[in-house]
Subunit: 76 residues, 7 copies
Amino acid sequence: MSSTNKPMDLLNQSREKRVLIRLRGNRRMRGILKSYDIHLNLTLTDAEEIGDEGSNKLGEVIVRGDNVIMVSPPPQ
Amino acid sequence: MSSTNKPMDLLNQSREKRVLIRLRGNRRMRGILKSYDIHLNLTLTDAEEIGDEGSNKLGEVIVRGDNVIMVSPPPQ
Amino acid sequence: MSSTNKPMDLLNQSREKRVLIRLRGNRRMRGILKSYDIHLNLTLTDAEEIGDEGSNKLGEVIVRGDNVIMVSPPPQ
Amino acid sequence: MSSTNKPMDLLNQSREKRVLIRLRGNRRMRGILKSYDIHLNLTLTDAEEIGDEGSNKLGEVIVRGDNVIMVSPPPQ
Amino acid sequence: MSSTNKPMDLLNQSREKRVLIRLRGNRRMRGILKSYDIHLNLTLTDAEEIGDEGSNKLGEVIVRGDNVIMVSPPPQ
Amino acid sequence: MSSTNKPMDLLNQSREKRVLIRLRGNRRMRGILKSYDIHLNLTLTDAEEIGDEGSNKLGEVIVRGDNVIMVSPPPQ
Amino acid sequence: MSSTNKPMDLLNQSREKRVLIRLRGNRRMRGILKSYDIHLNLTLTDAEEIGDEGSNKLGEVIVRGDNVIMVSPPPQ
């Protein structure tokens, strides 16, 4: 059984872990989730944009939540 | 007669079941619904993106509700 | 004279009836309206997507209201 | 001088009258305005979609307000 | 010096005057401003749509504010 | 050190000055900022649209804030 | 361990530093972050737009938050 009761709980469990993020406009990013809020505003460290021709280092980044389509924590 | 009185009740009945989700931008996903909130933010496990050339495993995922067009529970 | 005073009243009168729904992105659906809320989130049973080359069975479905353009109840 | 003080007053004066509606995505509709609310959600009877190659009968319809660009009451 | 302190004051000064309106989707309109509210919902009389090949009479019209890009009062 | 503490303070310091505005849909405008509110609704006088083939006089104008991408005050 | 608890904290730590901003519509900007609010409205000084063919000086600028996709502080 799951102990997750609300979508935000999954984000809470993913703090300090490397997550995959899909953004509107066909962007994808990867990075270590440091913080989030209820709008799905996110901060990541060691972030990189993932494109068809490789990835682009971004370092630390704040992402505005309304661009987020989905967030995947790493497989456990 | 239906005992469903509000749209969210159908989501509640679909917890722990495999649902089909259509997202804006012609994306489709399938996965086991673990949690949701009133914005239709969703978490899924065993999730996969379904495309024209097969599906793509995502594992656990949180979907931001404003990308959701519709959610279908499995046939009973 | 009409006894309908607010747009939501028409939805209320359409419960348990087969409605036609137009969605953004040129989608059309048909199904039996089971529930709705003030955002026009809807649940349907026996739902089908209607396309140019025929229809696609969806069964039970929850539709997020902000994708809805219009809803037509059946002719009386 | 006008006795109309707020935009919604014009809608109120147009109840039970045939109005022309322009929607996003280049759609146009005509029908008898039965009800409205502050979001510009509307219900119409005897509604029809107006296209370049003629019109398409819709009967009774509820239109979600955020698709509405403008509403014109009939000339007096 | 200007005595206008808030954007809505300029609309108030433009009541009963012919204004030019730019809407999303490259639409332009002209008409006499009769009323407005804080969402920039507007009503116009003697309104016309202005296109590249001439103008199109609309008479009285209510415009939903979130389609408005800008409103210009007539030169004084 | 900066004495600006909130983004709106910069708008306040720009009143009665000529600002450059970028709008969605690749529009640019210039004019003297007369008023603003927290939604970034703006009024300008002596406004002009700036296009690739020259500029287009608009005179006085109210701009709906949700079309604004950025506002630049003049260099000091 | 991170002492950042909310996404806005990272913006707070980036004040007076040169940040990289990605905006909708494929725009990128760089500038010194002077202020921000919870909507991600930002003010920058010494700002420049970064395009494929070089950069374009903007000086001081206020950016409306709903155009922001992400903000990166400089590497530490």
